[in-house]
Amino acid sequence: MSRIAAKFDSLKQAQRKALVPFVTAGDPDPSITVKLMHTLVEAGASMLELGVPFSDPMADGPVIQRASERALEHNVSMTDVFGMVKAFRETNTDTPIILMGYLNPVEVMGYVEFAAAAAAAGVDGAIIVDMPPQEAGDLVKAMQANQIDPIFLMSPTSTDERIKLITSAASGFVYYVSLKGVTGAATLDVKAVEHKLEQIRKHTDLPIGVGFGISDADKALQMSKISDAVIVGSALVKQIEANSEDHEAILTAARELIGGMRQAMDV
């Protein structure tokens, strides 16, 4: 069983929901990332989403765009990201790590090379934002051969037909994009999300994570009631940006935000 499936199983037994923070690898500089990952786990993260910086993050709002820019000032590459995962795995072999990024850095590396190197580093899943299932045949094959879960996005515009197509290619979990927009938007509609998740559940038994627009403990709680995993990106990255000159302050802010969400979800 994959680390992701095992984690969802154990959470289910404990009647808890997964909390999945997102940080961009190398933001604000590469030396903090592994420490930050451990801190997030201590604060209550069930899994970690690690952003691979890209020069043209089309699906991201300004907060995560700037995180990518900060990381790229340090020339953080896919290979560097694998190095961070490997370092994290030295003391943590239990927390699933999911890479989130755009296709071009994967294309340049080659699908098979990417999947093999990711697996060797200790990566468990990958979300390639601009790679829809109908183009993803070869990439999915390479990932499956290396026990990496291909995780796909679903959105408010996904029809029944598309939901079927996506669930036929996906494993690990399904990532539901809660709104029409980019990351960090502020227009979350809980009722609409709940309605759409019911539609998705008709087609799959995979766990469903919800992301985009979850900015505080209250929203995390609301989403955890209707989904299996709550994904928090921009709200956390904003804290990193606000404290970018001071590593200790970043770790403290991350601990407070994620700890607060965990506490709200566990009550």
């Binding site: 043209d56 071009n104 850095p105 340049v108 829809p132 183009e135 796909f152 408010p156 515009t157 996904s158």
Partner: protein, 404 residues
């Protein structure tokens, strides 16, 4: 109009592929809207009313057909091939861009969209979009990189006059690619009521096919005009390639005429060897950006690198996927012309023919100036003069040390 009569190569396939290039590489939220657009566009092509409306707009609003002009004095000076210019610079708004925006605006209207967005580099596509939006009474937002806003002030003002909101984009390299990112972000947020008019033959399917179809009016007219003027087809076609819409518009109707040599001209900027250029076909490699697989300017890590060209309209790190396929199949050749060569061509055409070309089109002229002297006198070169140079007065004057 019969768009289908030129689709002899049958591309793209139903998923938008030109060989290994093209396709649909976008976040899930845009997948269904793109499928809806592809369907709506197909419906338009099968609708006589739509095609008649498009024909009427091209004739009465754009001012088509645009003439083909024999550049006699330039040809004589060069002493070789005869040079002909397809005068897209004479279209309403001053470039070929309007052929496409008129078409896409009609599609938008049929789909019941009330808001139009666009990206622009030199501002020509932005102006052409603001123009059709004004005419149809639609809200219009144009995204433009901060760097381009500064070097194309006149076009920014034109767009504002036309009632469009121009949003300066300050992320990344602050040029065309970043404007495209920002337009995509807008579209994903406002997808229900918004139609995104992409200005070139790039982006996710169906854009490369749709924009090509609307631009092939250039090549269809030119084919007929050359036959009438010279009794045959041109021997060589030359067009500049940024994203590649004016080039594919000229080339496409000649693709099955194997004797016609096809040359696309990219921007070599400071020179291909310097790395400061915008020539992905000449000096890039395949990758995925802005919804399609194509040749890109990228680092070894797959990051898109900043490009450079004196012409804002060519300053783009990608290129339409059909050009990538024409390159790989060898049907078209792609070369590059640097800033200085383009400027020389700009002055030369201005002074020999009394035609001030856009800096983009000047790249195509420069290539003709390069090869014409060595070609026989019965060889004909047809250049797509894709736009006029009024918008570039500021840039050129600045190079001359003059403030205007």
């Amino acid at each position: 109009m019969q768009i289908n009569d030129t689709q002899l190569t049958g591309l793209p396939d139903e998923k938008g592929h030109f060989g290994p290039y093209g396709g649909v590489f976008v976040a899930e939220t845009l997948m269904q809207p793109l499928e809806d657009l592809a369907q709506a566009y197909q419906d338009c092509l099968n609708d006589e009313t739509f095609l008649a409306e498009l024909d009427a707009d091209l004739a009465n609003y754009v001012g088509r057909p645009s003439p083909v002009y024999y550049a006699e004095r330039l040809s004589r000076e060069l002493g070789g091939a005869r040079i002909y210019l397809k005068r897209e610079d004479l279209n309403h708004t001053g470039a070929h861009k309007i052929n496409n925006t008129v078409g896409q605006a009609l599609v938008a209207k049929r789909m019941g969209k009330t808001r139009i967005i666009a990206e622009t580099g030199a501002g020509q596509h932005g102006v052409a979009t603001a123009t059709v939006a004004a005419r149809l009474g639609l809200e219009c937002v144009v995204y433009m990189g901060e760097v381009d806003v500064a070097r194309q002030e006149a076009n920014v003002y034109r767009m504002k006059l036309l009632g469009a909101e121009v949003k300066a984009v300050s992320s990344g390299s602050k040029t065309l690619k970043d404007a495209l990112n920002e337009a995509m972000r807008d579209w994903v947020t406002n997808v229900d009521d918004t139609f995104y008019i992409i200005g070139t033959v790039a982006g996710p399917h169906p854009y490369p096919a749709m924009v090509r179809d609307f631009q092939t009016v250039i090549g269809r007219e030119a084919r007929k005009q050359m036959q009438e003027m010279t009794g045959g087809l041109p021997d060589t076609l030359i067009a500049c390639v940024g994203g590649g819409s004016n080039a594919i518009g000229l080339f496409y109707p000649f693709i099955n005429d194997k004797d016609v040599r096809i040359i696309g001209v990219e921007a070599a900027g400071d020179g291909l060897s310097t790395g400061h250029h915008a020539a992905p076909l000449c000096d890039g490699r395949p990758g995925v950006l802005h919804g399609n697989r194509t040749y890109l300017m990228e680092s070894d890590d797959g990051q898109i690198v900043e490009t450079h060209s004196i012409s804002a309209g060519l300053d783009y790190p990608g290129v339409g996927p059909e050009h990538a396929w024409l390159k790989d199949t060898g049907r078209a050749e792609y070369v590059a012309i640097d800033d200085e060569e383009a400027l020389d061509a700009f002055y030369r055409l201005t002074r020999t023919e009394g035609i001030i070309p856009a800096l983009e089109s000047s790249h195509a002229i420069a290539q003709a100036i390069k090869i014409a002297p060595d070609l026989p006198k019965d060889h004909s070169i047809l250049i797509n003069l894709s736009g006029r140079g009024d918008k570039d007065m500021h840039t050129v004057a600045q190079r001359d040390g003059i403030e205007i």
